[in-house]
Structure formats: structure tokens, C-alpha cells
Symmetry: C2
DNA sequence: CTGAAAGCGCTTACAG
DNA sequence: CTGAAAGCGCTTACAG
């Protein structure tokens, strides 16, 4: 038995099956008219020989690479993924990898792009950009190269563009706020971050609408997205000065800071203060008390993003953007304390 | 100006520079003898035209894809990355992406491989396998296809193979144990997990040696790697029954469980119990109290792994495995309480 | 329904 | 120092 040095080529399959390379290609790609018996024989031979098309040759000829790129948020390598919750990004990544694989696409992960050439270097058909900033420069690079891109999260500066997938931040926010009100909260505040991602922008808007509709005074504090730990402490302090009895905190890192600040002031959660975070994570589940959280369904988000990108690559017309339903996971941090 | 429909080919560069395609190729790949002036002119033209080689064509011809694969640990998509600490894996991933990019390699992320064909499908030159299990089946697939692979973490069933990079778990363990002893601990225990990764195996061995050398009674409790939260509670309970005054806990998830169990028993950390975790994370930094941790240097681990894989791809002889130095980050959970 | 031929964009002996 | 030519493994009009 030969060492795997030379994998079988399409010619080997053609010879073994007694047909031309053209016919083998047709069978393998389900194209053209091929007699059913021939088709079966060729497929069987290809299988037996363990034939796999050479992706370089196929890509060179067809112009398609069957490869898509994934670009994570523009952030410091070590700190800023925490803006939402690190679990979410790892899960999103693994699920995008899985979804791409299932659609026969290879998944290339790209570093933060500095120049257009960084993108030109790779043989890709398109890309998924996570958490676009307003008028995101990465998306602009794809546009400039004529490469299809979709985003996870909406670019809030490009109202019209339909090529995005996003968790339903507004609905999640309203669900949380109603949940807090149902638990008896009167002074419901929001602690969030000042960064132009649609997830946060939509939550803020939903909060403003909700307070207006219920005739409540809005109490919104925004943290700076840098120097995470100190800005969290500072913002949490400002928020507690407003004396809320419940807080919705979309990002996990600020929820951690809020719990600490509350503890330092002698406030008990949920006794004196209800707290809900906007994304689920191991940290939310195991914090003391366990935090009520929003399940953003990274698996479904990933699948929809890959599907949308493939649609765009194949030139299908834009559809409606895809809004992913979210689910509230009630935990002890918002449980009504029985007297 | 043309839309980017047709990127320049090597022929366009050759014509614009008045030389042959061969010469352009030589210049671009630093091969053959080319007159310095010619070289400069060709390089300038290529730059001006924004020429980028077509990776499919190059790969088809040269047999090299300039693409490497990354395989994360075999785990449930959502739960088991927490075995070490989710921050570590996300940081490792982003750093591998960055390191590969700097070495002009594209980085393909692969899902858990089920069959050999899953691997054959992709045009890759080699792969990095993270946290190999004993006699890891993923590594075996690479071997079977004659594809070079390196691992992050050592396969404890393959003592001889030098193609791995790993943080120095033994040294980290000894540093932690000495640190605990210096803080006055008499009954130093270890809480770890029963999974065949070298990181944990080496820590256990180092702990055994350290206790023997210092004439101390070893107190080792291993948690099961599944059903993370309940197994953590169970193992932490068993450990506290041994009444240690200090614990080294390599994985973050068990440290979280231990802190909770200690709290439930009315034990204060660090007052009654010193705790150190084996990997740094946002969770370790922000837990109450902040946890002394080991910095595993994922950035350097990533760089060395990419470098080692490229060595192997290029057929260079095996060198010594690469052991990454680790650093202790002392925090409040092991601070001596001043009386 | 099937096949011969061209060609995707490179790199690499080879000749001069 | 430079270039003409072959060929990597496919897919795709095109002809029959």
C-alpha cells in the first residue's frame, strides 16, 4: 500500500471507472446529463479510491474558493472581548466553524485588518464581520474589493443594508425590564457601555421607550469601554448613587463590577437590588448570586450568518435581515425574596 | 478606474515592467539570479499595481497551501472549554491567528473531526492540535495523511514525540506550592480534574514530588470533567473534608466551585484557606477575593506553536519540544492576613 | 449521454 | 541574468 504521498486525482478515478475526466467531474458536481448507471459507478469508484478534489485546482478554475473568513471584534487581544462576555465569542466562533463546515466551506479566521492588502492576500469568497462599529472599516475593505460580507450585529451607521444577523436586543431588553417590574422593582436603571455596537444601541433605545411608556424616570449610566476594571467600578458607583432597586446590565464585565460595588456598599442582591445581565456565560451562572441573563443563542446566530453569507456570495437578492430571538434565563439575582 | 473585478495577474506585472513572468516570479519569491535594478523595478511595479499572487494557483503549482489548521480541544461546544478557562482559549485562538498571519500563513479553524475525509477536504499544509488526549485521534488522522501536526500540550501517551509546545505546568505548580508554603500553609492540597491532558498530569506529578520532598501528606482530589457545575461542587466538598489550609486548583471552573463551597461552610479566603488557580482569566481577576493565578502566556505559546509547525512543514529536523515559562500572579486569595 | 481540449495563474526545471 | 515552455488538477464551454 502506497503511503498517502500522492492522493488520487480525477484522472485516476476516470481511468478506474473507464470514463473521461469530464464525466467524473460532472458526477462529482451533479452537473450535466450523465447516465444513472455511469453516475453510480463513478461515485462508487471515487468513494473506493478516497478521492477528494484538490481545492486549489478547483478554486483556480472555478474562481470560487469555498472558503469564508471570520473577523472577530476589533479589540485588544486580551482585554476587550470581555465587553460582552468571552463565553459568547468562543461559542460563536466554534459554532461558525461548525456551520461553515456543514455547508462545505472552509473557515479562515483573520486577524484585525490594517490594510486592504491584508485582505487581498487570502483566497476567500466572502466574510463574516462580528460587531461592526459604525461605518466599520473592515466591511468597507470587503466592499472595496467587491467581496461579499455580512455582519453579526448591525452597522448602526448603515440603516439600509440588509446583510446582517443580530440577536433581538430590543426584545431582550423589554423582556428583562418587564421581568424586573414584575418582581416589584420601582426604580429600574440601566448600566451599559459607550460603544457603537447595535446590541448596545438597541438596548438603550428600548430602555428609553420602556421608561417613557411606563412613566418612569430613566436612569442610564454608560461606562467607557477601555480600562475595563476601573471604568466598571467608576460607572457602577455613579449608578448606585441614583439609588435604583433594579438594574439591567447588558455586558457581563459591568455586571461583575456592579455586584462588587453593591457588596461594598452593603447592598444585598437580590434583597436590595435586582440585577440582570444581557448575555449568558459560565460567570453569570456561577456568580454569587447567580445572575439572571439573556441567552443570545450563538449557535443559531452562527448558522444564520453563514447561510446569509452564502446567499450573498451566490448572488441571491437581499432578503430581510435576520433577527435572532433571545430567551430570558431567570436566576436568583432577580428572584423575589419571600418574606 | 476599473472595479476590482479583475485583480492584476503576474502577466500584467510582467508586461508593465517589460520582463517575463518568470522574472516577476523570481523577484516576488526571492529566487534565482536577478539583476538588482530589474528586481527593484519589478517590485515597484508590482506594488503600484497592487499585485497579490493568487493563492490557489500558487498552491496548485507548488503543492503548498500556505494554510495551517487549528483544532481546539474535543469538547462540547458550550461547556467544556471551561475546563481550563475560556479566556485562555479565546486568547490562544486570536494569538494563533495573529502569529500565522505574520508568518504569511492562512489559519483555517476546523471543527471536531469525525472521519479522515473531514481532514482531506481542506487544502492545508499542517495543523495545530490543542490539548491532545492520550493517543489523540486527531493527531493520528494527520499522521495517516502524512500531514505535519504539532500539539499545544503534550500527548502523554507518546513520550518520545518532540512536536509539541506546552506551558511549564510542573514549574508553575512548584511555584504555586512554594508560594502557599511561604504564606504559612501547612496542609496544602490540590483539586484538579481527571482528564488526560499533560497540563493536569504534570501538575499532579509535581504536586506528588513536592509533598514527598517536604514530607507532607498529599491531599489530592480529582473532579470528573463532565457535568461541570455539579462535579465541581461534589469534588470541592470532598476536598474541604480533608481540612486543608491551602489549595492549588489548576482549572478555573473548580476554583469557582471551591470558593462557593468554602463560603457555604463559613470558611473565609484567604483567612481560613488560601486558594490559587492555575490559569489567569477575567474571572480570576474579578472574583471575590481576586484569585492568585498562573499566567500561561497564550501569546507566546501561540507563536511558538506556529513556528514549530512551520519548521516541521519545511522538513527541518525535530528540535527539543518547547516549554513555555509561566509566571505567578499573586493576588488577595493567597495574601497573608496581617494580624 | 459522453469526451477532447482549453485554460484558470502560478512556479520550476531548463536552455541560453 | 533572463525567458519560453510545461504542467499542477481541476471545470467548462463546445462538439458530437
Amino acid at each position: 500500500m502506497q503511503p498517502s504521498r500522492s492522493r488520487p486525482r480525477i484522472r485516476d478515478v476516470a481511468e478506474a471507472a473507464g470514463v473521461s475526466e469530464t464525466t467524473v467531474s460532472h458526477v462529482l458536481n451533479n452537473k450535466g446529463r450523465v447516465d444513472a448507471a455511469t453516475r453510480a459507478r463513478v461515485a462508487e469508484v471515487a468513494e473506493r479510491l478516497g478521492y477528494r478534489p484538490n481545492s486549489n485546482a478547483r478554486g483556480l478554475r472555478s474562481g470560487r474558493a469555498d472558503t469564508i473568513a471570520l473577523l472577530m471584534p476589533i479589540v485588544d487581544l486580551d482585554a476587550t472581548h470581555h465587553i460582552l462576555a468571552v463565553d459568547f465569542y468562543l461559542s460563536l466562533t466554534m459554532n461558525v466553524v461548525e456551520a461553515a463546515f456543514e455547508r462545505d466551506q472552509a473557515l479562515l479566521q483573520l486577524p484585525p485588518l490594517r490594510r486592504l492588502d491584508d485582505l487581498r492576500r487570502f483566497g476567500i469568497d466572502g466574510g463574516i464581520v462580528v460587531d461592526p462599529l459604525p461605518a466599520d472599516p473592515r466591511v468597507a475593505m470587503f466592499d472595496r474589493l467587491g467581496l461579499p460580507a455580512v455582519t453579526i450585529g448591525r452597522d448602526i451607521a448603515h440603516a439600509g443594508a440588509p446583510w446582517w444577523v443580530a440577536a433581538d436586543s430590543a426584545a431582550g431588553t423589554l423582556t428583562v425590564l418587564d421581568h424586573l417590574a414584575a418582581a416589584g422593582a420601582r426604580r429600574v436603571a440601566m448600566l451599559s457601555v459607550d460603544i457603537g455596537w447595535s446590541w448596545f444601541a438597541d438596548a438603550e433605545r428600548a430602555y428609553a421607550e420602556w421608561t417613557a411608556r411606563h412613566g418612569r424616570h430613566p436612569m442610564l449610566v454608560l461606562a467607557r469601554p477601555d480600562k475595563l476594571d476601573s471604568s466598571a467600578a467608576e460607572a457602577a458607583g455613579r449608578l448606585l448613587d441614583l439609588e435604583p432597586d433594579a438594574v439591567y446590565v447588558p455586558p457581563q464585565w459591568l455586571a461583575t463590577g456592579l455586584l462588587r460595588a453593591a457588596r461594598e456598599r452593603g447592598l444585598s442582591v437580590p434583597g436590595d437590588l435586582l440585577v440582570s445581565v444581557g448575555v449568558d456565560s459560565h460567570q453569570a451562572r456561577t456568580s454569587e448570586p447567580a445572575l439572571t441573563a439573556v441567552d443570545l443563542d450563538p449557535a443559531r446566530t452562527a448558522r444564520e450568518a453563514v447561510d446569509l453569507l452564502i446567499s450573498r456570495i451566490e448572488g441571491r437578492p437581499p432578503q430581510a435581515p435576520r433577527v435572532i430571538p433571545v430567551t430570558l434565563l431567570p436566576r436568583r439575582s432577580t428572584a423575589v425574596v419571600t418574606t
